[in-house]
């Protein structure tokens, strides 16, 4: 039984990775926490819902349309709203993204109503047997996607010229600007990229759970746990953190009781912050006194 929970958690963790990659990318590059991350996820799920109902595409294929839209939204939000605020520090950005989350949440409710929606596909209710344990197919898909996302981002950041400018801008914006890197452009594209990655996570949420206008907050909190454990701003940390959170959640819920799931996750978040605030892979920044 324990082994089965381990496998369940492992693949559930894949889903957590997909929702957290956007958040960790934004924190790593811009040193800002995007409190509207949950709304980016849910917004993408709503978009995918609209696309699938209108042109009957498979939800995952609809990402071809949804992800570019999310990229543009992310880019515009960063350039118009957030970029001018970066110099004023983290609290200002918290408030701005928080206002964005409020606006997005109510927009969803006004456009789509307060009902819980879900994305449908032939594989949402099926399972795959792995080592004798039946795992939801969508979790396996999410896991594969998660590995592809993190690996792809790693290649982009290390191999491409653009990736090198992103890392330079993350390391030292002033120095990057002085060698001719257009830092606001890099920030904008990174934020857009994070939004597009969140579109993948959001669609997977829509396929595996229901979503409503206010569910974004729950996923934001899950993403926080993942990236705090992995180390905020670390890509590989997000991958490992997501899997670990999934496993810990599944296994401890089977011991203590499923109703304590959220309690375990949030207590775990506080615990990590107290014991090792920089996470497993975090850069040694001054997070603590």
């Amino acid at each position: 039984m324990f082994f089965y929970h381990l496998i369940d958690g492992f693949f559930l963790g894949g889903l957590y990775v997909t929702i957290a990659v956007g958040l960790t990318l934004v924190f790593g590059v811009m040193n800002m926490v995007n409190l509207a991350q949950g709304e980016f996820l849910i917004g993408a799920a709503y978009l995918a819902y609209s696309v699938t109902t209108h042109i009957h595409l498979d939800p995952l294929l609809s990402l071809i349309i949804v992800a570019p839209i999310m990229f543009v939204i992310g880019y515009v939000v960063q350039r118009v709203l957030l970029n001018p605020l970066i110099k004023r520090g983290q609290e200002t950005l918290l408030v701005a993204t928080f206002g964005l989350a409020l606006v997005a949440e109510t927009t969803f409710a006004l456009v789509y109503g307060n009902n819980t929606l879900a994305l449908n596909a032939p594989y949402t209710l099926t399972g795959i047997t792995i080592f004798g344990d039946t795992v939801r197919t969508i979790y396996v898909i999410a896991f594969v996607v998660a590995v592809l996302m993190v690996g792809g981002m790693y290649l982009i950041l290390t191999r491409l010229r653009f990736g090198k400018s992103v890392r330079a801008a993350a390391e030292d914006p002033a120095a990057a600007a002085s060698v001719g890197i257009n830092v606001p452009l890099v920030y904008g594209v990174t934020f857009g990229l994070a939004a597009a990655l969140s579109a993948v996570g959001g669609t997977l949420i829509g396929l595996s759970y229901g979503f409503g206008p206010t569910t974004g907050t729950e996923w934001l909190l899950r993403s926080f746990v993942v990236i705090v454990l992995g180390g905020m701003g670390s890509l590989w940390g997000a991958l490992l953190g997501g899997i670990l959170v999934g496993v810990i959640e599944e296994v401890s819920a089977s011991f203590i009781g499923a109703q304590y799931r959220d309690l375990i996750v949030f207590a775990f978040l506080v615990l990590i912050l107290i014991i090792r605030p920089q996470g497993l892979f975090g850069r040694k920044v001054s997070v603590a006194k």
Binding site: E91, V95, F224, L273, P277, A288
Partner: protein
């Protein structure tokens, strides 16, 4: 690292002395003698109006005022930690819930008099804040925000499962705990006045200076011998104390509590919105913000989504265009008006030329 660049302009010793003694409008001759009296006059008038409230307000208005006063108290308490202290807490809903549940449990299981239970709920919230501070206060900036949020969410999920407090269905207060509207009104007003006086005095005391020094630059403050940990801990505890009592009053008004509303994230969201809209790290800002927020909420009562949308847009506009909030905009506007109206008189040129050196915060 704070919401706006609060570094004061470099001043020469003489001007420091002058501007410390005089607020800007006292330099305008017309207002010079009367300025301080106008300020106190308005304050006394507002207080008298508030304390005479029940004589001219309807029962419905009294309940509205109760909510408004509670919003003001909550926002001002958050402002002490988040604004003056620079510790952007996302976990303050925890203390609303603690206050609500403490008063309910004490009234249900003990024969403690009501006013003592109110005090107890404040103290318990304060104690929990002190413990939380021991754990979280070594975290900085967003790490503290996320940590406090995690703590509040952990508490919420714990309360949903704790059978002693009725788990997810919550508790109902005993029938004899029901207070009439006038008493609730006065309790909320008294709490607001107490909170305002304490916080205004606190931030103007040496303790407040230490707190703001830590906010602006913790390392520099440490160099000067200001130890940040106890200051942050005490501030957190004081802030939670008032929030806890406000939570208790809210429970006394609702008469039944359940975890999803008592520990709801909406409380801290409301506190932040009100403080930012009104003006963070100002003593009057949260009051103005509460009036704006509450008016919007009431005016669009039947259209909750629209009012939230409007508040969200307002929040974004404020943070983008006027990050010091409505209070600062009002002050600047009033200052400019007085200048324009006095500009024609040559005798006042000296006073207008000095205005750059004045700090507006001195006004109240």
């Amino acid at each position: 690292m704070t919401l706006s660049d609060r570094q004061p302009e470099p001043l020469s010793p003489e001007t420091v002395e002058q501007s410390a003694k005089r607020t800007w409008f006292e330099k305008v001759p017309v207002l010079k003698r009367s300025g301080r009296w106008i300020k106190w006059g308005i304050l006394v008038l507002l207080l008298v109006l508030a304390f005479l409230g029940p004589t001219y307000l309807s029962v419905f208005d009294l309940t509205l005022a109760f909510t408004l006063f509670n919003y003001m108290t909550l926002a001002q308490s958050w402002n002490l930690l988040g604004g003056y202290g620079g510790q952007f807490s996302l976990g303050h809903s925890l203390f609303v819930g603690v206050g609500s549940y403490t008063v309910a449990v004490l009234l249900l299981h003990t024969g403690m008099p009501l006013y003592l239970t109110l005090l107890a709920s404040g103290c318990l919230a304060s104690g929990i804040a002190a413990i939380a501070a021991l754990l979280l206060m070594r975290l900085r900036e967003v790490y503290f925000s996320i940590g406090s949020l995690g703590l509040a969410m952990a508490a919420l999920t714990w309360m949903i499962n704790w059978s002693y407090t009725g788990a997810s269905s919550g508790l109902s207060l005993p029938p004899n705990a029901a207070l009439d509207y006038t008493t609730l009104y006065f309790l909320s007003l008294a709490l607001l006045v107490l909170t305002m006086v304490c916080i205004v005095l606190l931030v103007r005391s040496p303790f407040g200076l230490r707190l703001m020094a830590i906010r602006d630059d913790q390392e520099a403050a440490a160099e000067l011998g200001v130890s940040s940990f106890p200051v942050k801990l005490i501030t957190f505890a004081i802030s939670a104390f008032f929030v806890g009592i406000a939570g208790a009053l809210i429970a006394l008004n609702n008469l039944s509590i359940e975890p999803n509303s008592a520990f709801s994230l909406n409380w801290v969201i409301t506190m932040i919105i009100i403080t930012i809209i009104g003006g963070i790290a100002t003593s009057i800002g949260p009051l103005i913000g509460a009036v704006v927020f509450f008016t919007l909420q009431q005016a669009l009562q039947g259209y909750q989504n629209w009012s939230t949308l409007l508040i969200g847009v307002l929040l974004i506009l404020i943070i983008r265009l006027a990050p010091d909030g409505i209070w600062k905009v009002l002050i600047d506007g009033f200052q400019r008006l007085t200048e324009i109206s006095l500009k024609l008189r040559p005798a006042n040129q000296q006073s207008t030329s000095q205005r750059e050196e004045d700090t507006v915060e001195n006004i109240v």
